[in-house]
């Protein structure tokens, strides 16, 4: 730890080839999701039964679905929903988990023991079961699925933060802030949490993709985004009956989802490679 801090700053390349490629993929998808629907002449939810199941053409770049909606526009709007929901779910889990983990680790004693058992339990219970239970209580929809995912998801971040705080707690600068008469709340929020958020944040970058996949899976099963709104998962599901006759409906949203996963994975790979090199 001391070595890492005291080492003079070396000039390292910020981006490796991997992270540059991954970053480009993710940037293109995000840009398309934000700008695409604004430029598209087609409203994402307007049906036109006379133009149903049209193959890709200059009018409809990625064809139309069974009720004549433009697949490209719909997929890009769906990507927006998936991205926002994925990031929101992960951010909420990260924030809640880090704060709870930090508090209990700093406080120690019975509170730490009790919350750690809750964390163990939350991690041990199958993820989807809790999400399905939440949907059963709150009703189907993206928000219910998101809430269900946060209910389980915070536990991992709490565990990460707890481990970090336990190592940090005996550090002299924490002792120093205490000797300055800081309250425990101030020490926790302004000195402990900023120091433990980084490993959680690293984990969260991968977790965003996992969250989007789970959200898509729930929508695929019909528990997530409800018609007429569609995210990537529900568009894939809607195209499934026509896979042999109209392949274009499910393909584009699936490709977007895969591209995001591969892109984020590459960014992460690149950064871990850089860490090993330096």
């Amino acid at each position: 730890m001391v070595d890492l801090i005291s080492r003079p700053r070396a000039r390292t390349r910020r981006w490796t080839v991997q992270s540059a490629v991954g970053g480009t993929i993710v940037a293109v998808v995000i840009l398309a999701a934000v700008v695409g629907p604004l430029l598209s002449p087609w409203p994402p939810n307007a049906t036109d039964v006379l133009a149903s199941l049209e193959p890709p053409s200059l009018r409809h770049w990625m064809g139309t679905d069974s009720v004549g909606r433009d697949v490209l526009t719909r997929s890009l709007v769906g990507a927006q929903i998936s991205l926002v929901a994925g990031v929101a779910v992960t951010a909420a889990a990260l924030a809640i988990g880090t704060v709870i983990g930090s508090i209990v680790a700093y406080a120690g004693g019975w509170l730490d023991a009790a919350v750690s058992r809750v964390v163990d339990t939350a991690i041990a219970i199958p993820f989807l079961v809790v999400v399905l239970a939440t949907v059963a209580i709150l009703g189907p929809g993206t928000v219910s699925v998101g809430v269900g995912m946060v209910v389980v998801g915070w536990a991992v971040y709490a565990r990460i933060a707890r481990a970090e705080v336990l190592a940090l707690r005996e550090h002299e600068f924490i002792m120093a802030t205490r000797s300055l008469g800081y309250t425990s709340a101030r020490i926790l929020l302004r000195h402990v949490v900023p120091n433990v958020v980084r490993p959680g944040l690293t984990f969260a970058t991968m977790d965003v993709v996992a969250a989007m996949v789970v959200l898509a899976a729930m929508s695929y099963l019909g528990f997530g985004a409800q018609p007429p709104v569609a995210d990537l998962g529900s568009i894939i599901a809607a195209g499934q009956p026509f896979l042999l006759s109209a392949w274009w409906i499910s393909t584009l949203p699936a490709v977007i989802l895969i591209a995001l996963g591969v892109g984020v994975g590459l960014i992460d790979d690149g950064f871990s490679l850089r860490r090993k090199v330096s």
């Binding site: 730890m1 001391v2 801090i5 005291s6 700053r9 120690g108 005996e170 550090h171 002299e172 600068f173 002792m175 120093a176 802030t177 205490r178 000797s179 300055l180 008469g181 800081y182 309250t183 302004r190 000195h191 900023p194 120091n195």
Partner: protein, 335 residues
């Protein structure tokens, strides 16, 4: 100033016992009844080897004990006030305004994720209740006072951009921000190289001379203590074994441990090539079970059977100086 005030020592620790365990009643003691007295504007040294209880003693002043550590009994009075009886809010105010503390490892005593300026401003605003702007100006002058070049520029830096000596100066600046009456320096130079060490020590003395701040200087280096302090308290195994004015103790040590400690301080003159500096024989602290009596007995060259049962109380040696030793056989053995 009234006579009462003049007679009240700034800090008075009386029969302090500190132990570790689930609760104070079952705690096993590591500090066995330390008494210490500091007057305003004095530098008092607390010297002893690792595990002698010197750090725990000075942390007890701020009630900053590690996990499962408890003050079992005794009292700590600061300017006549009972520190151990302070409420939570009073304790925070006491830590923030009355006492400053600097630590052994300047590499880990600043928050690595925040700029020097933001850390100083936070401490100053809390201690002095001033605005962001005022605190920033004060931070610049504080850094200037501890001889940091380009103070305004340093405020924008992160701790890792500064050297160890610079960081210790920043720590000192933060600790002195509220102009505390007592500065606790827990081995402030142990992690620094010799040249930097001398600079920091000089700085500490200047702080005392200019602000009349009392300093409790913890060290295991008798050379540092002899150089810096007015009075010295020697600890071994959780007991005070000797205390007195530093020149008295240094020139006429009256406890075998103190004598061994002083003999171990390196000097430039070496009698001949084969000369080996004396070391303290026997098992170091913490490797043997403490069975009462004098904790130094297993390593003492003058140990005798009675050492097992001696009461570890400080007995004054002469009336002129406040020089006292816990060894009842001193004076009889060859000095």
């Amino acid at each position: 100033m009234s006579d009462v005030r003049a007679n009240t020592p700034l800090l008075e620790i009386d029969d302090l016992r500190v132990g570790f365990g689930a609760n104070p009643a079952s705690a096993s003691l590591t500090v066995h009844g330390v008494s210490l007295r500091m007057d305003e504007g004095r530098i008092v040294g607390l010297v002893g080897e690792s595990g002698s209880g010197k750090s725990l003693t000075c942390r007890s002043i701020l009630r900053l004990l590690p996990d499962r550590g408890h003050i079992v009994s005794g009292s700590v009075r600061f300017d006549g006030r009972d520190v151990l009886g302070l409420s939570r809010a009073e304790l925070l105010a006491f830590r923030s305004k009355q006492v400053g503390m600097i630590f052994q490892d300047p590499f880990s005593s600043l928050n690595p994720t925040r700029r020097i300026g933001s850390q100083m401003v936070e401490a100053l605003r809390l201690a002095l209740g001033v605005s962001e702007e005022t605190a920033r100006g004060r931070a610049v002058s504080l850094l200037d006072e501890v001889d940091i070049p380009d103070p305004a520029g340093k405020l924008r830096m992160y701790p890792h951009e500064l050297s160890g000596g610079m960081r210790q100066r920043v720590m000192l600046a933060i600790a002195m921000g509220a102009q505390p009456r007592l500065l606790i320096a827990d081995e402030p130079t142990t992690a620094l190289d010799t040249t930097t060490q001398a600079q920091i020590l000089r700085l500490l003395r200047r702080v005392r001379d200019e602000n009349a701040t009392s300093i409790l200087l913890v060290s295991h280096d008798f050379g540092v203590i002899a150089e810096m302090c007015d009075e010295v308290v020697v600890m071994y195994g959780g007991y005070v074994v000797e205390s007195g004015p530093v020149e008295e103790v240094y020139l006429r040590p009256r406890h075998p441990y103190t004598r061994a400690l002083i003999a171990a301080v390196p000097t430039l003159e070496v009698p001949d090539r084969d000369y080996r500096r004396p070391t303290i024989p026997g098992p170091p602290l913490g490797t043997t079970r403490y069975e009462g009596g004098c904790p130094f007995a297993p390593r003492c060259v003058n140990a005798r059977p009675e050492c097992r049962d001696v009461p570890m109380t400080l007995v004054p040696i002469d009336d002129v100086h406040a020089h006292a030793t816990a060894c009842p056989f001193e004076g009889r053995v060859s000095a």
